[in-house]
Symmetry: C2
Subunit: 374 residues, 2 copies
């Protein structure tokens, strides 16, 4: 679909704000998910920071938030300027394909030539001019018909992310760094990750995708035609409250849960329709407390990061991170790389090395009836 | 002073119940000192356990508790059978010489041939028949005119206790294991402690002293005549409320703070008046959280000891100790030899290796205005 308007004028950001962030329990939990917390020490929630960095690119009236019904009040509290038509409330979480593609389908009906970009609500990004530059290039590339990932330039041999293998350079005006995606690669082991870093042709997959709505939905139709049909039905019923409710009741329970990486990005790459723009900005998905410690201690491993407005910490010969949601005195003596998360009803003590195992505690609590603190 | 009554009939136990137990902060603190806690998992406070093991030896009406005014209600709550004349309330803490010798002076006026034994309110003792046997031998030895320590047979090369070097065997009827004390030795370094253990002639000094009141006070008179005079004045004024108050007001502020080890035991040893009976019972002074962990995990270093009536602990690959005074869920992941003490207003996270350093936190909190949690 060609358009008379410039690509950036047609750009619309989508923020899927779902996901509890189990690896950040007991800080993040069902009623206080990760995106509602200030994890960067900015004084603002991750969601608010996400919004604020998209406003200069898309404009405050061209950002859509997709979130759970339970989080509506909290989201609106964070984003007071959010208009009703800018929020899509999910009846139940249905993973990222539904979140992003339903938003795209709704937006496409409002604005057929729209270019949509999806941006996680719970990542930390720094050096914003570089972010804006990357998104701008991605939007130009999307207008040429590609589905475009913004891939993160690795700062180390991470085994916690999937990778994007870059292919040949593209010749898109306004997007000098855009390349084809040769393939998506699952989370590697350390030796492989080190190889990727040396090779230089690999980027981290941050699930940041930009494309024309028609291209995105066309791709989904090839791999998940049934899901696309359901999402189009929902979108058609969406604008009218009298039709939206019945459509949601009828269709939502049947919607397939699948990550957009699998339903769209990987098939698009295989079909030669996937491009990537390298992101040189600072990026962290704050995936666990080790990551949170790193982000908040300026990367110095010997430091103790302290989060919490009322934190009262007395530390001696200790490093790692303390997250305090109470006003209790917290005293650490001789504990290295420690993780202490102090909330009114749950306390976590672990080490940065074990940070990834926090999710297993949440799973255990689900099984053992500790659900009231999840 | 000779007496017609058998030594054990004249025995009277004194329990100095003072001392906060700073190394057990934030569990132990000014308004909840160590002796009021159940640290053995017995379901009873250390004070109550101390009382219960002295009753078979002295009788419930021949035990005197010396404690601070602030702890009166808590002590009486623990010891409902305590009569008014069995409690000595200290206006201010004045260390062990005042606590034990004032009690001895009061008891001597009531019963001139009394034999007094002092027993800390906050130690854990097991294998009680052996304890009773040792105290019995100590009482017999005391009747012969000695000041008698019950020294603990070392179970390892501890650097946390002073030692008693045993001298020649004594020939006291009913006390076959009594020996002279050759000297008291300050806390040694590890190499020296190992030497003591190999030598076999050294016992731990648990500050458990038994002697005739007249002998004890006579010894105090030689080293601290002024203090003895003050304590005798207090004792003389004690039984009448109308005289006790003014005497306390006048004398208490002047009383010297000195440990009975220095005012009585060491000078008595130098003068050849100090005897020792080895204690073969289980003993622990629960001096810090490492000790508390050991006592409560059956000595198995790989175990996690859990204290607290309402403790909800979820532990994975963790060892050490959790003390919970809240009903919060406490989750530990991959933390070895950890110490977590969770109270309503203060949290401590350290390791058993650093347990002795807890006192320094308390000192720091005193300086930095955190006194409300001490």
């Amino acid at each position: 679909m060609t358009s008379a308007r410039e690509p950036l004028e047609r750009f619309h950001a989508v923020i899927p704000a779902g996901g509890v962030g189990s690896r950040l329990w007991p800080l993040s939990r069902a009623d206080a998910p990760k995106f509602l917390h200030d994890l960067s020490g900015s004084g603002r929630s991750l969601l608010r920071d996400t919004w604020d960095r998209l406003v200069p690119i898309a404009g405050a009236d061209r950002i859509m938030v997709v979130t759970g019904r339970a989080h509506r009040a909290a989201v609106e509290d964070q984003l007071s300027e959010l208009a009703d038509e800018q929020i899509v409330l999910e009846a139940e979480p249905r993973d990222s394909t539904v979140a992003v593609c339903l938003a795209a389908a709704i937006l496409e009906l409002r604005e057929p030539d729209v270019i949509v970009g999806s941006f996680a609500a719970d990542h930390i990004i720094g050096r914003l001019p570089l972010f804006e530059q990357a998104v701008s290039e991605a939007v130009q590339t999307a207008d040429a018909g590609y589905i475009v990932a913004v891939g993160i330039k690795p700062t180390g041999p991470s085994t916690g992310f999937g990778y994007i293998k870059q292919g040949a350079a593209l010749e898109v005006e306004g997007a000098p760094s855009a390349r084809m995606v040769e393939s998506f690669v699952e989370k590697p082991d350390l030796a492989t990750a080190r190889g990727y870093l040396r090779d230089g042709g690999y980027l981290w997959n941050a699930s940041m995708f930009i494309s024309r709505a028609d291209v995105l939905l066309g791709q989904l139709g090839e791999t998940k035609p049934q899901l696309l049909k359901q999402l189009r039905e929902l979108a058609a019923a969406w604008e009218d409250q009298s039709t939206r409710g019945p459509a949601v009741d009828r269709l939502w329970p049947k919607l397939e849960k699948v990550a957009i990486d699998y339903s769209v990005a990987e098939p698009a790459a295989a079909a030669g329709r996937m491009a990537v723009v390298p992101g040189l900005f600072d990026w962290d998905d704050v995936g666990d407390f080790a990551s949170l410690a790193k982000v908040n201690s300026g990367g110095r491993k010997t430091d103790l990061a302290i989060l919490g407005e009322h934190a009262r910490v007395l530390a001696d010969a200790s490093s790692g991170i303390v997250v305090s949601q109470t006003s209790r005195v917290i005293s650490l003596i001789g504990v290295k790389d420690i993780v202490v998360v102090d909330t009114p009803d749950a306390l976590l003590v672990t080490t940065t090395e074990n940070a990834q195992r926090v999710k297993s505690v949440v799973d255990a609590l689900k099984l053992t009836g500790g659900g009231n603190v999840l």
